[in-house]
């Protein structure tokens, strides 16, 4: 999809004015957040599992080459085929070639956020092949011709009335002409429409939640069962997955699965957890005749060994965005690319460039709630800060900010000058705001005073007032300092 991350502020403005979106975002706060909290509280070993999940992913990332080879060997030993895609364009070309070789006219798809990353649907349509999204949320946004706004609930920005309208507009050709009001009826109608699509499809494309190196299996987690139909009915199954999705063993995969659904939707497990190992074997009644796995790099290996390596632990549960106050205020489309919220704020600059996506790591208050809930303990604020450092070092941050910061830092490094200015500023602002206790407008602080008053200073600086009272401002004697240094050393600090 085309990135609009550089237009972040415009996107935000639009999102804040969209009443339907704001109503939809409230659902996250009242839904996903308490559900995750309850699921975590119900499992005493949840925190331990998070540590284990983090360690498993760290181990894989430390030996990525070995596990990739092992996975590829295991897939091929079971009759599958592995394809290596260094870039999004490579992945599109490989998948198009496979689709054409299978004479595909329609392709069903499931669990495929990474296909959004490589803009696969556009490529398929241009080649005359119809892609059909089968996850309900993806199906809805495909009808609306919109990108996803959340990685596990791509249509969360839509109200049920908007969905009803979309179905009314698009389902007439299947003989469905009634305006629906109940979500259960909408699900049933989508199911009926999609049923025939599964049977007609020549190729099924899925993503993968995990790739298991020891067995060459892929694991798919859904609540709708649509991945199972997508992969088992057509003759060809193509899997597209990022190289970071690897886990060493089935045992490791089960640990990851225990934190995934709990973090995402607050479920113990999702309704369907499907392991797929190779194509249909002799004597099997069902399953695809061909099984292809396309392993996508697209900038991921470039993150290994850098300060952004930890981001590759991400298992795409969406907990960070569900708990992010900024995501909760502006929604996913504002982020302007496939991956929104805190994980997107780190991943998007890595994949499409910090020049394009520089706003995203800046648009955070560093409240830390994302890191608090991340099942694999990704230090998201630390990595957003690392992007800001890169931007600062490369002079990408706005000149006005750099200038303001420079002036402030000059004083902060010079206590005498700072004290003088602090004292003057406190007195001046205190006098300006004395009549009301607050300032309605403040020069150079329009961003602040547009929506809130500026409480006025009391009129004197604390340090100056303390000193004027004759209270102590000198560090204790050298003896105290020596005693402390001694004790600190003994404690091994």
């Amino acid at each position: 999809m085309e990135a609009t991350s550089h237009r972040f502020k415009d996107n935000v403005h639009e999102a804040l004015g969209d009443a339907n979106l704001q109503a939809s975002l409230a659902k996250i706060r009242s839904g996903f957040v308490p559900k995750r909290a309850a699921a975590a509280a119900a499992l005493p070993e949840f925190e331990t599992l998070r540590d284990q999940a983090r360690d498993i992913k760290n181990h894989v990332l430390g030996h990525l080459d070995i596990y990739l080879e092992r996975f590829a060997e295991a897939v091929e030993a079971r009759g599958g085929k592995v394809h290596w895609a260094e870039t999004a364009a490579d992945a599109r070309r490989i998948i198009l070639d496979l689709a054409r070789a299978g004479n595909a006219r329609t392709i069903t798809k499931s669990k495929s956020m990474v296909t959004e990353e490589i803009a696969l649907n556009d490529a398929l349509e241009k080649a005359g092949i119809e892609p059909i999204e089968t996850d309900l949320g993806e199906y809805i946004i495909q009808l609306a011709k919109e990108p996803p706004s959340h990685i596990i609930a791509p249509a969360i920005h839509k109200t049920k009335e908007q969905v009803a309208e979309l179905f009314l507009r698009h389902h007439g050709r299947y003989g469905k002409t009634e305006r629906l009001t109940e979500p259960t009826d909408m699900v049933r109608e989508a199911r009926e429409v999609l049923r025939q699509k599964y049977l007609d499809a020549d190729v099924g494309i899925t993503g993968a939640n995990f790739l298991v190196a020891e067995t060459g299996s892929i694991i798919l987690v859904t609540n709708e069962g649509n991945a199972d139909l997508t992969l088992s009915l057509p003759k060809r199954h193509i899997v597209l997955a990022g190289i970071e999705k690897l886990v060493p063993t089935l045992e490791d995969a089960s640990t990851m699965l225990r934190v995934l659904a709990r973090s995402a939707t607050g479920q113990e497990f999702s309704s369907y957890t499907t392991l797929v190992t190779g194509p249909k074997r002799e004597g099997d009644l069902d399953g695809p005749e061909e099984f292809h796995v396309v392993l996508l790099d697209n900038g991921r290996s470039g993150m290994v060994g850098t300060e952004f390596q930890d981001m590759l632990r991400c298992i795409r549960c969406g907990a960070c965005m569900n708990h992010c106050p900024v995501y909760g205020t502006v929604g996913g489309h504002a982020y302007g690319w496939v991956y929104p919220g805190p994980m997107g704020a780190v991943l998007t600059p890595a994949l499409i460039g910090v020049e394009e996506a520089g706003h995203l790591p800046n648009a955070s208050t560093f409240c830390g709630r994302c890191e608090q809930v991340c099942p694999v303990r990704i230090p998201l604020p630390r990595m957003m800060r690392a992007w800001r450092t890169r931007e600062f070092e490369r002079h990408l941050s706005p000149a006005s900010q750099r200038w303001g910061l420079g002036v402030w830092a000059w004083f902060a490094k010079r206590p005498r000058a700072y004290r003088l200015v602090a004292r003057t500023a406190a007195a001046l602002l205190g006098r300006m705001g004395r009549s009301q206790g607050r300032l309605k407008r403040l020069p150079l602080a329009g961003g602040w005073t547009r929506v809130r008053d500026m409480p006025a200073p009391e009129g004197r600086s604390f340090v100056a007032a303390w000193k004027a009272d004759g209270r102590p401002t000198e560090a204790p004697g050298a003896a105290t300092a020596r005693r402390h240094r001694g004790s600190a050393k003994e404690q091994g600090r």
């Binding site: 208050t365 900010q401 902060a412 206790g437 604390f462 300092a481």
Partner: protein
């Protein structure tokens, strides 16, 4: 951070006196000296000798969070040199406290001289509420306030320093005070340091939502432990014409609520 023996729960007067360097934070220094005096009073009541070094400026967070590592390091070195002679450093702000105790060691990690000094300072730096309860073993305060209050958990104090139970424990001992818990007390108010200036639209919506929650509690008084959040929420409450007063939690615990609340004038003070 502190060793178990330090938090054995002995009453404060039974402890050896400690000399505390009070790091007032730039916002307290400039906007709200009364928080500095309230902090000093609480520390003295907990048996500490309080010193306010006059060479303090700011913790360097704006530079650090804007990616300006060089200035952040230079400021960190200033702060370390100023405060390392003290037994403890206490900060009436989770955000600045977290900067010193978490981010200084990271910032100066590779510096053979300043790295160890940053780690030593980090180990003896505390947010005010955590220091009073966890280190000094304070069980309660002598303060009186007839008010219904609500409390906002500022993000850095909450998540970097684990400040949650301590202020509530002490507020529970203020005579006449009722605490109505704030729904979403752990959700960010939208201040975020430079965030509120860089993304005023998002910040504005966040603080509006926060203030709606605050108003729904029917409290007379909003408390928190961080001046940034307090200025933000007070600024929005006042813009909406609300009469809810806003104060730093230290002012209430130190029984120093005769001054005008944040964003009010002495004449305009007075509860609903």
């Amino acid at each position: 951070m502190n060793t178990p023996t330090e938090t054995a729960g002995k009453p404060a007067r039974a402890r050896a006196p400690a000399t505390v360097g009070l790091f007032a934070t730039c916002l307290v220094d400039l906007f709200r000296p009364s928080v500095g005096f309230a902090t000093a009073k609480l520390l003295e009541e907990a048996g500490c000798r309080v010193v306010v070094p006059d060479s303090q400026t700011c913790c360097g967070q704006p530079a650090f969070n804007s990616g300006d590592r060089a200035d952040a390091r230079a400021i960190a070195r200033e702060v370390i040199a100023t405060f390392e002679p003290f037994d403890y450093v206490v900060v009436p702000s989770g955000s600045c406290g977290g900067m010193i105790s978490h981010h200084y060691p990271e910032l100066l990690r590779d510096d053979p001289d300043w790295g160890p000094r940053a780690r030593r300072l980090a180990a003896k730096t505390y947010e005010l509420m955590a220091f009073l309860v966890d280190v000094r073993g304070l069980e309660g305060v002598k303060a009186k306030l007839d008010a219904t209050v609500t409390y906002h958990d500022s993000c850095s104090g909450l998540r970097e320093l684990g400040v949650k139970a301590q202020p509530r424990k002490l507020l529970g001992t203020v005579e006449g005070l009722t605490l109505n818990e704030l729904p979403g007390a752990e959700e960010c108010c939208g201040f975020g340091g430079t965030f509120c200036v860089k993304y005023p639209e998002i910040s504005g919506r966040m603080v509006s939502n926060k203030v709606a929650d605050i108003r729904a509690t029917n409290a007379d008084l909003l408390l928190a432990g961080d001046m940034g959040c307090l200025l933000n929420m007070a600024g929005r409450l006042k813009r909406e014409g609300s009469t809810i007063q806003v104060r730093h939690v230290a002012e209430v615990l130190a029984d120093m609520t005769d001054t005008a609340a944040i964003g009010d004038t002495a004449a305009g003070a007075g509860r609903r």
